[in-house]
């Protein structure tokens, strides 16, 4: 060993460190508090605003007025409630379809060794970067040609453009993470590819299905441009469009309170879903996207 003498570490008393740790902990909790305010306050404010009427809106009182007129109006509005149902249908169907398509593609891309695998993956990634406006007119022709104009199903179809690439991408990385031996065990047990996918991989992909599913769901639930363009009549509209249709008594009037009430209402299911699946979203992404 060389003679290099290392500086002696300065070590203070146990009590000093105890104090320091407590201080640090308090600081962290405070920072966390700030983060919570930062992320939640706007939503809270939307809620506050939605319970105020008229000029009360212009007085910045931090407490909600707890006037639920707008909410009552929403609930009594069959068109709005109908659009909730449409949204649910569109979002669920989109999610389901993109998961089915995505998982099937992901199995091929993640598990089967074939030469063009990388190219296919890159093409799919490239597709996911198209701006939506770019395809609007072509999409409209397609919808008309399929006779789907003004049907919620048209939205399901068009949303696949945005959801399928990333579901495929995330599920592929996830499937690749999977212990290969499970699949080999199944092969030896006599399973076909389809059976492996259905009986072995699928039941085990809960977390990543949940997280990609939620991403797809949020996307489909919140989409506006296509929904606006491809539906015509009230009974076929989705929630964001329905919110877009909430109007005052004049074309220039912007009924802020009502719109905030509607926004709070439609965001609620999403928040609930996110809360419930919070752990899985992180877990699913852990296995998925980040690996790339």
């Amino acid at each position: 060993m060389t003679e290099l003498t290392l500086p002696l570490p300065v070590r203070r008393s146990s009590a000093y460190y105890r104090l320091r740790r407590r201080a640090l902990r308090s600081l962290q909790i405070f920072a966390l508090f700030l983060v919570l305010i930062y992320t939640l306050f706007p939503y809270y404010w939307a809620f506050v605003s939605s319970t105020k009427q008229g000029a009360a809106l212009y007085r910045s009182v931090l407490l909600p007025a707890l006037d639920f007129t707008y909410y009552r109006q929403l609930i009594d509005n069959p068109i709005f409630m109908g659009s909730l149902l449409n949204s649910a249908y569109v979002a669920v169907a989109t999610t389901f379809l993109s998961l089915v398509i995505g998982i099937s593609a992901a199995y091929a891309l993640g598990r089967i060794d074939f030469p063009q695998r990388r190219a296919v993956l890159m093409v799919i990634l490239m597709i996911s970067i198209f701006p939506q406006v770019v395809v609007l007119s072509g999409m409209f022709e397609l919808i008309n040609w399929l006779g789907l104009f003004n049907r919620p199903s048209a939205l399901v179809l068009t949303y696949l453009l945005s959801t399928v690439p990333f579901t495929t991408w995330i599920l592929t990385t996830f499937i690749r993470e999977f212990p290969r031996e499970l699949e080999e065990a199944a092969i030896v047990d006599g399973c076909s590819h389809l059976r492996i996918l259905l009986k072995i991989l699928l039941p085990l992909m809960g977390p990543s299905l949940a997280s990609t599913g939620i991403l797809a769901f949020i996307l489909a639930w919140n989409e506006f441009l296509f929904a606006l363009t491809f539906t015509l009549t009230d009974e076929n509209r989705t929630v964001p469009v329905a919110i877009g249709l909430i109007a005052g008594t004049n074309r220039y009037e912007y009924p802020f309170g009502q719109i905030m009430a509607a926004s709070v209402t439609v965001t609620l299911p999403l928040i609930a879903v996110v809360l419930v699946f919070q752990r899985r979203i992180v877990a699913g992404l852990t296995a998925g996207a980040v690996k790339g």
Binding site: Q53, E141, N150, D234, G244, R251, Y252
Partner: protein
């Protein structure tokens, strides 16, 4: 028979009523579809439907500035609506819908820029409603300062709209036209914007920002500026007639303190030039039931229905006779005094520009916004705008 009609979401109930009345009268049904609240969002929808020659839609609700855009896809109503019915409307309004010799739509009601003001404050400080913009600025300034001194430190003199959007085209045209500076492009297609009066008007308005108007007006639209006025924080307020209704609704801080007048003028003797915003109904060329649809258009734009809308929703009729109708006046008392405002209105140059209107308007409001926010000089700005517009004209 059943036809399909587009209606603004704000007028959904009115439209339903019209449809009921029409059914009672003719036995035909009209199915009402809501348009997006941001009416401009309807453009691509119309566009797609018309490009696809869709039969899904018969009657379209149209803003005046869209008429040029859709004229190729709209049915000529000249022969389908009785001449007598056509003649009941303000000529200027009806003429705005006559493009390439076709009557592409019928006016349903009209909007015009009006000046709202605080009756109570003007009285308190012994002021008369101003006639010129300079008077307005001076009055606004005085009241603002006195009110602030009295502790009302949120008070502003004048709230208007200068966000970089279509509304600014209106506000700016009003200022320029009332100062004798024309309406950007004349009816014959001549680009008129590069003139000293126009520059002067904008220069003046620029001076207001920060002194009698909050800097925020540079991103105010109708609603943002109305909020200031209706919470009692502005003396003057330029807006559309609907503010009359909202400022008298529960929750407003200025109930019964509001007065209305035509917009001021640049100099004595010039014309007040409220921006005209009439709305129309037209029939799609691809409608399978064109005659029924035209009947409906005539019905919904007819005297009875316009009166109904005026009474129920304070929408200003485009039919001259209604301006002396007692029922209407009871509901909208200012109509009588402001008939001139409607007659004198400044029309945006959408008739000539047609499909290109949005480009012209965007170029105009963008350069105006630059001038108002101080990043461009009005004289030079309008000169270069004029050149751009000339070039635009060539491109189509």
């Amino acid at each position: 028979e059943t036809i399909s009609v587009f209606c603004a979401p704000t007028e959904f109930e009115l439209c339903t009523k019209v449809a009921d009345a029409w059914k009672a009268k003719t036995g035909n049904e009209a199915k009402i579809n809501k348009m997006p609240a941001l009416l401009d969002d309807a453009i691509p929808i119309y566009q797609q439907l018309l490009a696809a020659k869709s039969k899904d839609i018969d009657v379209l609700f149209l803003d005046v500035i869209w008429l040029g855009m859709f004229k190729a896809n709209l049915l000529d109503l000249k022969s389908m609506v009785p001449q007598a019915d056509q003649d009941k409307h303000f000529a200027s309004t009806l003429n705005a819908a006559k493009l390439d010799g076709n009557l592409v739509a019928m006016p349903a009601y009209m909007d015009v820029g009006l000046m709202f003001y605080r009756k109570d404050l003007l009285e308190k400080y012994g002021k008369l409603p101003p006639k010129t913009w300079d008077e307005l600025a001076a009055t606004a300034k005085e009241i603002q300062e006195k009110e602030r001194a009295a502790g009302n430190d949120k008070m502003w003199g004048y709230a208007w709209q200068a966000k970089s959007y279509e509304g600014l085209t209106c506000d700016a045209i009003e200022l320029i036209a009332s100062n004798g500076g024309g309406t950007i492009i004349a009816d014959d297609g001549k680009v008129t914007i590069d003139n000293p009066q126009a520059a002067e008007a904008i220069e003046k308005a620029k001076g207001w920002i920060g002194s009698i108007s909050p800097e925020g007006v540079l991103n105010y639209d109708e609603e943002a500026s109305r909020a200031v006025f209706e919470s009692g924080d502005a003396v003057f307020h330029r807006n559309w007639p609907y503010v009359w209704g909202t400022s008298h609704k529960e929750g407003s801080s200025v109930i019964d303190k509001v007065g209305v007048m035509p917009l001021p003028v640049g100099k004595d003797g010039q014309k007040s030039s409220g921006c005209l915003g009439p709305m129309y109904y037209g029939v799609s060329k691809y409608s399978a039931k064109a005659q029924v649809a035209a009947d409906f258009v005539n019905f919904i734009t007819g005297t009875d229905m316009q009166k109904m809308r005026a009474v129920e929703a304070t929408l200003n009729p485009s039919i001259q006779s209604l301006y002396s109708d007692p029922d209407v006046l009871e509901k909208i008392p200012f109509l009588k005094d402001n008939q001139q405002a409607f007659a004198d209105s400044a029309v945006r140059p959408s008739g000539y520009t047609g499909t290109s209107y949005n480009r012209v308007s965007q170029a105009f409001y963008r350069s105006t916004h630059d001038m108002l926010s101080g990043s461009a000089d009005p004289k030079e700005g309008f000169a270069s705008l004029a050149k751009r517009l000339e070039k635009l004209k060539e491109s189509r």
